[in-house]
């Protein structure tokens, strides 16, 4: 018998579709009004402006480095927090969420204060001797400010990923002759591949949108520490709203392009195994 329409399931499906439609429409509406607000010649001028071009390059570079660093740190932390039980674990768990709940400006301020302490100054001197560049108000500050927030999101993602993978497979690997490190590298990590890609893309996207800590800790100096999010701020502050919107559209385009490429690469990597 064909079920009557509409029935209880229909209303449930309509509710699900309604939530999806509402949110997607809101996102699309923002993009459409952004695109309608500015003109093509403004966008064209923006992508040929040396200052904005520098911000594009620095954004892509710093976001990539901070996303890679985030994954590098988040994978072992996520594994540790998922698999091991140790004293103080709950406290550390709360600590790992602090960068997510803290106002971004406070993170920048805290970093700035940290680098004013004797330990921070020693670290900065060591870094300068090694690379010839300072940390604060330079590109490393941009990367560190992005990393501080992006890494927290990557850690959450990796923890959830390892929580969902079966630890029994690693235990079997131990009985088959693996050390714990081998079981992690050969069994746990390949099974968490999708999560690693998700953590990396999430960290990259979060880093691209980061603004507050960069402004406080790295400044917004043109051709030096200016990234796209600070460009939008600088353009807004001098009243060039159409350029700010053009740069915003550019950010969206770059973000979509990178996220699609990374996910495609991730899917290829999964298929290759």
């Amino acid at each position: 018998m064909i079920p009557r329409w509409p029935n209880r399931d229909t209303w449930f499906l309509i509710a699900l579709g309604g939530a999806l439609g509402f949110y997607v429409l809101l996102i699309l509406a923002m993009l459409v009004v952004d695109a309608a607000y500015t003109r093509f010649d403004v966008i064209w001028r923006a992508v040929h402006d040396p200052d904005i071009l520098f911000a594009v390059k620095l954004s892509v570079f710093s976001c990539t480095i901070s996303a890679l660093l985030s994954v590098l740190v988040a994978v072992p932390i996520g594994y540790l927090m998922s698999r091991m039980r140790f004293p103080g674990r709950t406290l550390i768990d709360v600590c790992l969420d602090i960068p997510i709940v803290l106002p971004p400006l406070v993170i920048g301020l805290s970093l700035l204060i940290l680098f004013q302490t004797s330990a921070g100054r020693a670290l900065e001197s060591w870094f300068q001797a090694l690379t010839g560049s300072r940390i604060t108000y330079e590109v490393p500050a941009v990367i560190l400010a992005q990393f501080m927030v992006a890494c927290a999101f990557a850690v959450r993602t990796m923890r959830a990923t390892f929580d969902q993978t079966n630890p029994r497979a690693e235990q079997v690997a131990l009985t088959l002759g693996c050390t714990r490190a081998q079981a992690f590298r050969l069994v746990a990590l390949p099974e968490a591949w999708k999560g690693v890609i998700t953590a990396g893309t999430l960290a990259w996207a979060r880093a691209l949108g980061e603004f507050g800590p960069i402004l406080v800790f790295a400044g917004a100096t043109r051709q030096r520490t200016e990234v796209l999010s600070t460009t939008v701020f600088l353009e807004l502050s001098v009243g060039r709203l159409d350029t700010a919107v053009a740069v915003s559209l550019l950010m969206i385009l770059i973000a979509v392009l990178v996220l699609v490429l990374v996910r495609r690469w991730g899917a290829l990597g999964e298929g290759a195994r």
Binding site: R168, Q171, L174, T175, L176, G177, L186, E191, R273
Partner: protein, 225 residues
Amino acid sequence: MLRISKLTVEAGTFSLRDINLHVPQGSYAILMGATGLGKTTLLEAICGLRRLTHGTIQLDGRAVEALPARERGIGYVPQDLALFTTMTVAENIGFALHIRHVPASEEQARVQELANLLGISQLLERMPAALSGGEKQRVALGRALAAKPRVLLLDEPFSALDDQTREDMYALMRAVRHATGATVLHVTHSRSEAQALGDHRLVLDQGRIVEQTPQVPATAPTSST
């Protein structure tokens, strides 16, 4: 030979106390007991996946309780099989040899030998997700046997199979036992499984082994492999 003396394991609020058992060389021992009484915990302790509070575990006369899991020479098939989902069937079976840096040609030959024994030669390039329940059981068994373990521990390996597949697996286990000569400790709830395979019966109750009796399997081991 597997001998356990005065073994105590504490896992949170649960504990196994003063476990003594003996599985003679080449025997097929069946460990029975109600759910939640610690059969899996006992297997994990024997494998080296759980720390003992007290007691000794001997394999062929050698104390192994202080050794890490990788050095005990025990093959383990857990209840959920836990196949390596990102590896092919051949890679799963050859994993223990790969870890030991066995030459590729030797590894390949051993994988092929086990695949022939287990009747899964045609599945070697498949991924675990593309296998049926019975095929997965065979792969898990092959993976545990690859490094020629002295003792094989099986944790309710056939509980999720249909009757026909289970009967096939009984026949296969007899063939495997005949071919490898391994000492087996097999956990099950099924009396028919115990009757069909075991020549030694152990019963776990209230955290202790309350019965250890030799028994004659319903069907004698076959000589074909």
